[in-house]
Amino acid sequence: MAKIKVVHYINQFFAGIGGEEKADTPAELHKGEVIGPGTAFAAGFGDEAEIVATIVCGDSYFNENIDAAKAEILGWVKDLAPDLFIAGPAFNAGRYGVACGTIAAAVQEELGIKSMTGMYVENPGADMYKDKTYIIQTKDSAAGMRDAVKKMTAFALKYAKGEKIGASCEDNYMNQGVRVNFFEKERGSKRAVDMLIAKLNDKPFTTEYPMPDFDRVEPNPAVKDMAHATIALVTSGGIVPKGNPDHIESSSASKFGEYSLAGVTDLDADTFETAHGGYDPVYANEDADRVLPVDIMRDLEKEGVIGKLHEKYYATVGNGTAVASAKKYGAEIGKRLVADGVDAVILTST
């Protein structure tokens, strides 16, 4: 197998040019040269990978001329066409971290070349770029170089070879906001007991799922004039025309359906059913009005309590459906309802 080609990006300090006073050094391409931490990487790579070029750029230059510096470097990387682009490690150096994150993310996004970097978790570049490139977690200063190179080398080889990247805790990269499954060494109950003992004794422990920030939706003000309002029905209870024409899944729905209620006064067992897999379907299938109350809405329409029932309804299955999907369906359904002049919606769930 051919050696994996790596291009390495470092700043003026690690290239041995100088400290802060040389931070305005413009970007330089050193073809065929291995510089600074590159030496340690090269040793770690052995015969499997080689650094074909090192790009050096001053931190101030990069951050103050970001578009020009980025364009120039991307041009070089494109021509070199490496298998992997490595920036840093930047440890806790703020501007260097941002530069590493910016250029690594750009290489990946704009050139489609695999990229990675390494830095300390509190480096501002970490939060900015951890979901755009792989950032290996390092210590906060260059004293942690050995450890950083070891972790980055292991990751680099695995990644460049196309092997499956495990969960963040397995492969030492910063969590990208994506939940990744993996098998632990201890079963869940043992991990829970160990965590409980740590918590009891005020020892440190790491939760396996940090609580998310929730998106709370404020309800709209009440409808003032119900007698002239057009009301729509929308459900996550899975009520669909018999036969489930859109094949909405029983769980983890990948779509919603839009169906006509024109001329429908009552849902019955011959015409409607539920696609939902989260409850005993017997009662919903017997009379789908129990979940999507069309019969009552028609009564209210006749009695003049509401203006009219909107002639279309929307349905999906809430069971196990990802919040991101639900949000997407909600936004699209909302757009269509507004376009149709609907004043208010009754949302039913199960």
Binding site: F182, K190, R191, A192, M195, P210, G320
Partner: protein
């Protein structure tokens, strides 16, 4: 309470003319078991099959998994309130057939049954690829409603497991484990310096086929109470639910509750394991409030220092989980919660339907939405007719080449929320 569990290691299951256990081999005559199943007029027929670890076999649609046990000393019998009378169990001696399980299968709801693969990638996710499985595929009489079918199959499973357990009643155990909890006063005197720890076990009770039974009582109807974990080992809690296969707690996992097992391992060392508290996951807000209030109160009344809280199911029960956690923590009792995640196929969505900063110690059984390709296997026990509609599948699940594209949600026990498995996520 003190219970001895005598383990009889089963190394093979074979069909034979007479049913017996000899030198670790379970011999089964299906004709002995068939009448046990068909005594219920709701069931028309049953077929028995055997699935062994490593075989190219897929079992689906799976309903429940049960470990055969028999009580040989002490009050009562296994599955009190379901099979045996309602004597209080959990003391004396019980024999358990290890390494095997009775698996009930049938197209009950058509939605929330599971898949057990005995080999391949799917086998890594289910604990029941490692057991010798006696599978009973039950066929209902015409026009039987789902809930009646569920009950018939559930009870038939317990009857069969009990009948098989009884084959062991005169056998010598290969290994014996003793589980003993102390009375309140006794525990304080015996372990004056150890923290007092409990286990809050949330039982699936959303209704409409999402039910659990305690001594025969539908757990929707209980208010939270305390129970000795040894009672549960005797089958005091059984599953009657059709929640997604990955995170339902089959009867087998109640019998072999891993939290109880791992807490007993630390009992008298790191802490005093006081008792198990059972609570439910009803859908009405008043029920949720009442049950979580009661659960927190029990933790306080028992002077617990910390608890582990486990869940069953997802979505709606996430709210019960978080209410329990928040209210128990507010009583000054530390918590670790065990759950699983529905973070979407891409893993990018929030994983739970509810959250609170009090839940700072979480163990996860992994993301149930992760997609996996299951290879075509040589034999199917049960039927593939429902594989495109079970929870976690889609209309694209059964592919032309016979492989299945599914979320791990369809695999029985894949993301178990009592921590029975090794899967996790970050």
């Amino acid at each position: 309470m003190r219970l001895e569990i005598g383990k009889i290691n089963i190394t093979d299951i074979r069909f034979a003319d007479s049913s017996k256990i000899e030198k670790g081999v379970l011999y089964v005559n299906p004709d002995d078991l068939k009448p046990v199943v068909l005594e219920d007029e709701h069931l028309k027929d049953v077929t028995f099959d055997i699935a062994k670890p490593g075989e190219s076999v897929r079992i689906t649609p799976v309903k429940d998994v049960i470990e055969p046990r028999v009580k040989v000393e002490g009050k009562g019998g296994v599955f009190p309130g379901m099979i045996a009378k309602v004597d209080t169990v959990g003391s004396g001696k019980t024999l358990a057939l290890k390494g095997m399980a009775v698996v009930t299968a049938g197209k009950i709801v058509g939605f929330q049954e599971g898949i057990i693969d005995m080999t391949g990638p799917g086998a890594e996710y289910t604990p029941f690829s490692k057991t010798l499985n006696l599978v009973m595929v039950c066929e209902p009489v015409e026009d039987l409603k789902q809930h009646d079918y569920e009950k018939a199959v559930r009870m038939a499973g317990f009857r069969v497991a009990t009948k098989i357990g009884e084959l062991a009643k005169d056998l010598q155990a290969d290994e014996t484990c003793v589980y003993e909890t102390c009375g309140i006063k006794e525990g304080i005197e015996k372990y004056p310096d150890l923290p007092r720890v409990g286990y809050v076990s949330m039982l699936q009770t959303q209704g409409l086929l999402h039910d659990t039974y305690v001594y025969g009582v539908d757990a929707k109807q209980i208010i939270p109470t305390i129970i000795s974990p040894t009672e549960v080992m005797d089958g005091a809690i059984v599953s009657g639910n059709c929640v997604s296969a990955c995170d339902k707690n089959p009867t087998y996992i109640h019998q072999n509750n891993p939290v109880v097992e791992d807490m007993f391992a630390e009992h008298g060392k790191s802490f005093n394991f006081v008792c198990q508290i059972i609570t439910n996951e009803n859908v009405y807000l008043a029920d949720k409030e009442r049950s979580s209030n009661m659960t927190a109160k029990l933790c306080k009344m028992l002077d617990l220092d910390a608890v582990i809280v486990t869940q069953e199911g997802f979505g709606n029960p996430d709210t019960d989980l978080i209410m329990n956690c928040k209210k128990i923590e507010a009583e000054g009792v530390k918590t670790v919660i065990v759950t699983d995640e529905y973070a979407g196929r891409d893993g990018k969505s929030q994983s739970l339907a509810d959250a609170d900063p009090a839940a700072d110690a979480v163990v996860t059984g992994g993301n149930a939405n992760e997609v996996i390709i299951l290879p075509k296997l040589d034999k199917v026990i049960g039927m593939l007719d429902y594989v495109n509609v079970i929870a976690g599948a889609s209309d694209k699940t059964l592919r032309e080449d016979g492989t299945l594209e599914v979320e791990i949600q369809v695999i029985t026990g894949a993301t178990n929320e009592m921590g029975f498995g090794y899967l996790s996520a970050r």
